[in-house]
């Protein structure tokens, strides 16, 4: 495991912003940390980076205590938007960051290339578009070849093209074997990119599994006539208006049984819950 937390909790007064969160991120995976705004994602991530001290519970990042130089030097991060000096160029900002990380400045050019910012490297950071700022943040996170990349809402505020660029970038990094912890409230993003997902709601981790497992079993939708007869014939089916829902994977056998019983089968198709539906169920968001 690259990241593990055990009952990690952060309280501000009586309010638990993060409440006994136990999660684990495996080496080489893209882990989606999913939750509505204010669910506790950023506070959890800040605790993993040592920016915020937990009230109770423990966390280990690459086997180290969060926030220690040993841990931080193996982690690259972009937390709630990039924090750079507006009067410095992108290149100089990375040079400053490289000096802090103890990375030789020659690595700066490689990082700029990786995020496709070489052409704009000499422009002042304040003149960058939001997408360029985010990419520079990723470049800074990549300095020093970290074992773990933590990206907190990396597509926040980006236009659709910028979001697609950022997703492509994360996918490319994942393809190279980079472990990524990506927090987001954009379900499609998590569904597209992530191997496993942790869902956090009101400070509590309500689920942690693969996207497939979260969506649950496939349900077959069957439209048939007469529907009542089909409902009686198929054990465990549930009637939803004029269609049946059946937890069954062998659609062929079902259709044969219905046809043998003189039931007209009009439509059979898999009905899968989207991650969005699962998410709304779990978080109570609407």
């Amino acid at each position: 495991m690259i990241v593990t937390t055990e009952k990690l909790t952060k309280r501000y007064g009586d309010r638990a912003v993060v409440d006994e969160v136990s999660l684990s991120v495996r080496r080489g995976e893209v882990y989606g940390f999913l939750g509505p705004n204010g669910a506790g994602k950023t506070t959890t991530i800040r605790m993993l980076l040592g920016l915020v001290k937990p009230t109770s519970g423990t966390a280990r990042v690459l086997g180290e205590t969060p926030g220690t130089p040993k841990a931080l030097l193996k982690v690259g991060s972009l937390i709630e938007g990039p924090g750079f000096y507006p009067y410095l160029s992108g290149r100089d900002n990375l040079r400053v960051h490289a000096a802090r990380r103890g990375v030789h400045k020659t690595h700066v050019e490689a990082a700029l290339e990786q995020v496709d910012l070489v052409g704009a490297a000499n422009e002042k950071f304040r003149r960058y578009s939001l997408g360029m700022k985010q990419r520079l943040g990723v470049a800074a996170a990549l300095l020093g070849e970290p074992e773990l990349l933590i990206l907190d809402e990396p597509t926040n505020g980006l236009d659709p093209a910028g979001m697609a660029d950022m997703r492509d970038l994360v996918r490319a990094l994942a393809a190279q074997g980079q472990t990524v912890l990506l927090s987001s409230h954009v379900l499609g993003e998590v569904e597209e990119i992530c191997d496993r997902v942790g869902v956090i709601s009101q400070g509590r981790l309500v689920a942690e599994s693969t996207v497939e497992q979260l969506r649950g079993d496939t349900v077959l939708l069957i439209r048939a006539d007469p529907i009542e007869k089909a409902h009686v014939l198929i054990e465990g089916s549930s009637l939803h208006g004029d269609v049946l829902h059946v937890r069954e994977t062998d659609a062929g056998a079902l259709v044969r049984a219905l046809v043998h019983a003189d039931v007209d089968v009009q439509e059979v198709r898999p009905l899968r819950r989207t991650l969005e539906e699962v998410f709304f169920e779990m978080t109570g968001a609407a």
Partner: protein, 271 residues
């Protein structure tokens, strides 16, 4: 070392650093030489300054005093603004977050900022010395005065200048960390350096204990040290304490400001 290098790189390329240093150099030349020179040559009212005093204040051998006399108030205010901006801006820009997740321990990151600010302040004091010396030599040459190079006393004045500058730097850093932003830090700092201590000195003439207190406050200690090493004729310069006592109080202020700021930086959550 990485933290100092990083901070120095960003402070060096920060326009605010050079604007503030430039403003200070213009001020020190204007008030230290230009106005005195104009007063000497055709000024109708030199108030309580005799011609000999004006000439003496512009002599190259007295350049040490010229450097130190401006620092207890106006020079100090500029240094305080520079330090408060350097530290406070990091909260608004989010660069503290980037710094503290880059790898160094918090105490190392803070030491990097303090180290880089110290280097900038040494440069500011050195530039003040060279610019003042240049102006003094120019005036002396133009006027045809006999002049001599500064004696070893200039090192005492420079040491005092650096200690005063260190105190104002520490004060600025302290305010930047406490207020977690540049605007309030600069506002409070300027008010303290230019207004509050002067008001307290006014009250001090009515209340003995307050008068005693004002002598050892940051500006008071700085003024007394400047006065003890020959600085005179500038706002904020005092002669109530010995140089040693004033220096000890200044060291105490530096320790408290830097110590509290570092402690807060290390212990406080960065949200």
């Amino acid at each position: 070392m990485g933290s100092v290098k990083a901070e120095l790189l960003r402070l060096w390329k920060w326009p605010a650093t050079w604007v503030l240093i430039g403003v200070w150099l213009v001020m020190t030349l204007t008030f230290g030489y230009l106005f005195n020179y104009l007063a000497l040559n055709g000024g109708t009212n030199t108030r309580d300054l005799s011609q000999q005093q004006l000439i003496s204040s512009m002599q190259p051998e007295n350049v040490g005093a010229a450097v130190v006399r401006g620092l207890p108030m106006f020079g100090g205010a500029i240094i305080l603004v520079l330090a408060a901006l350097a530290v406070g801006s990091g909260y608004g820009w989010g660069t503290w977050k980037t710094t503290l997740t880059a790898g160094p321990r918090r105490v190392s990151a803070m030491a990097g900022t303090l180290g880089a600010l110290a280097i900038i302040v040494v440069i500011l004091v050195a530039l003040t010395l060279f610019v003042n010396l240049g102006a003094a030599i120019t005036v002396a040459s133009v006027e045809g005065w006999d002049w001599s190079w500064p004696g070893v006393g200039v090192f005492e004045a420079l040491g005092a200048s650096l200690l005063i500058a260190a105190m104002w730097t520490g004060f600025g850093v302290f305010l930047g960390v406490v207020t977690k932003g540049p605007a309030l830090a600069v506002g409070l700092g300027l008010m303290w350096a230019i207004v509050t201590e002067n008001l307290l000195r006014g009250v001090g003439s009515l209340l003995g204990p307050v008068e005693d207190l004002t002598k050892v406050l940051p500006g008071g200690s700085a003024g007394n040290l400047a006065g003890a090493v020959g600085g005179s004729g500038a706002p904020g310069v005092l002669t109530d304490l010995s140089g040693t006592t004033a220096a000890l109080f200044l060291v105490g202020h530096v320790v408290v400001f830097v110590g509290v700021a570092t402690l807060l930086k290390v212990r406080r959550d960065l949200v």
